[in-house]
Symmetry: C2
Amino acid sequence: MTSRPFHHGNLRAVLLEQAEVMLREGGVDALSLRELARQAGVSHGAPRSHFIDRQALLDALAVQGFDRFADRIRAALASPGDLAERCRLVGRAYVDFAVDDAALMELMFAAKTTDPAGPVQAAAARLFQLFDDAVAAATDDPADDGARIRFQLLFAATMQGTATLIAARRITRAQGEVVVDDATDALLSSELGVRLLPRR
Amino acid sequence: MTSRPFHHGNLRAVLLEQAEVMLREGGVDALSLRELARQAGVSHGAPRSHFIDRQALLDALAVQGFDRFADRIRAALASPGDLAERCRLVGRAYVDFAVDDAALMELMFAAKTTDPAGPVQAAAARLFQLFDDAVAAATDDPADDGARIRFQLLFAATMQGTATLIAARRITRAQGEVVVDDATDALLSSELGVRLLPRR
DNA sequence: ACCTGAACACCGTTCAAGT
DNA sequence: ACCTGAACACCGTTCAAGT
C-alpha cells in the first residue's frame, strides 16, 4: 500500500526485495528484469545501473540467500541440548530453509557462478565454515581435519539431498523429518562419528 | 555430416536427440524450441505438432533421463560383490549420472511437473522402485516396510545431496567418492541398516 | 551517478492455411 | 496428421541522451 519511498538512492534494494517475492511466487523463470522495473516504477533500462545483467541480480540474490541461511544454521547450532539434539535441529533448519525457499536454494546451488573467487562462492564458504567450526568445537580430536571434513560433507550432503527429494515431491515433509533423524543417528554412531565425537 | 533422414516420421525423435545435446552444452536456459527447429531444418512452428509447449519437451527429456538413470542403477545392482560393495557401486552410479548429466538431472528433479499421475513422476517411481526391490531382496525381514523405506530414502538422499554438492562445485569428484563410501559404511552399520541387513 | 527511451535480436505461443 | 509462416506479446541487452 505504502508507495515506494521514491527511487533515488534505494532502487537496488527495492529491486532485490521485489525479486525475492517474484522468485518465491513463480520460480527463477518468472523473474524478469523488465517486470521488476515496472513494479518499481522505473524504466526498463534502469536496473542496468545496479545489475550489469540478469545473472548479476541472481548472484546478488544467492549471496543474500547464503547469508540468511547461515543465520538460521547459527541459531540452530546455538540452541540448548546435547550434540545429537543439536544435530537434528541443524538438519531441520537446513531442510526447512531449502524447502521453504526452494527456488532461492536452486539459485544458490546452481553452478552458473563457477568463479571460485566470486562473492557467491564466498558466501557459500561462510555457510559451510559454520559446520566446520561446530564440529571442531565439539570434537575430542581437533587435529583430525580429514575426518572432520568427511563428517561435515556427509552431513551436508544428506540434508541437501533430503531437501531436494522433498522439493521434487518424491517424499513428504514428514518423511523428510524422519530422514533427518535417521541420518543424525547413523552419522553419530558411524565409525567416523564415533572417532570425532566419542561422547554419548 | 549425414543430412537428416528427412523430417517425415521422426521429427520428434530428432528434436529430442538434439535437445539433449543442447541441454548438456548450455543448460536448460540454452534450450530453445526455435533453435531446435532451425537445427532440424523445419519451421519454428513445427515442434508444436509433437510438443504442446516447451515444458512438454522438458518433461519428455526428464522421462528419458529417468529411464536411462534406471538402466545404470540396474547395472550397478547386478554387479558381483557383497552387499557393501554393491551399495558403493550404486552410489557411484547415482552420483556419476547426476554429475555427468547435471542439467538433465536438474530437469528431472525440478518440481515443475507437480502432477503425481504424470509420466515424469511415473518414470521417477520406476527408478525408486529399483531401490525398494533391491533392499527387499537383500533383507532378512521382508515384512519391515517402514524400515526399508527409511533406509532407501536415507540412501537416495545422501547420493542426491552428494551429487548436488559436486555440481555446485562445493566439493570435488574425488571428495564425492569418499562421501559415497563413508555414507555406505555409515548406513550399513547404523541401527537401521543392521536391523534390515544383519549380514556382515 | 543514475535514469530514460529507442533499437535490436531473440524468445514462446497461437492459429489459419497448406499438403 | 504434420508442417508453414505470419502475427502477437514478451524478453535481455546495448547505448546515446538526458538530469
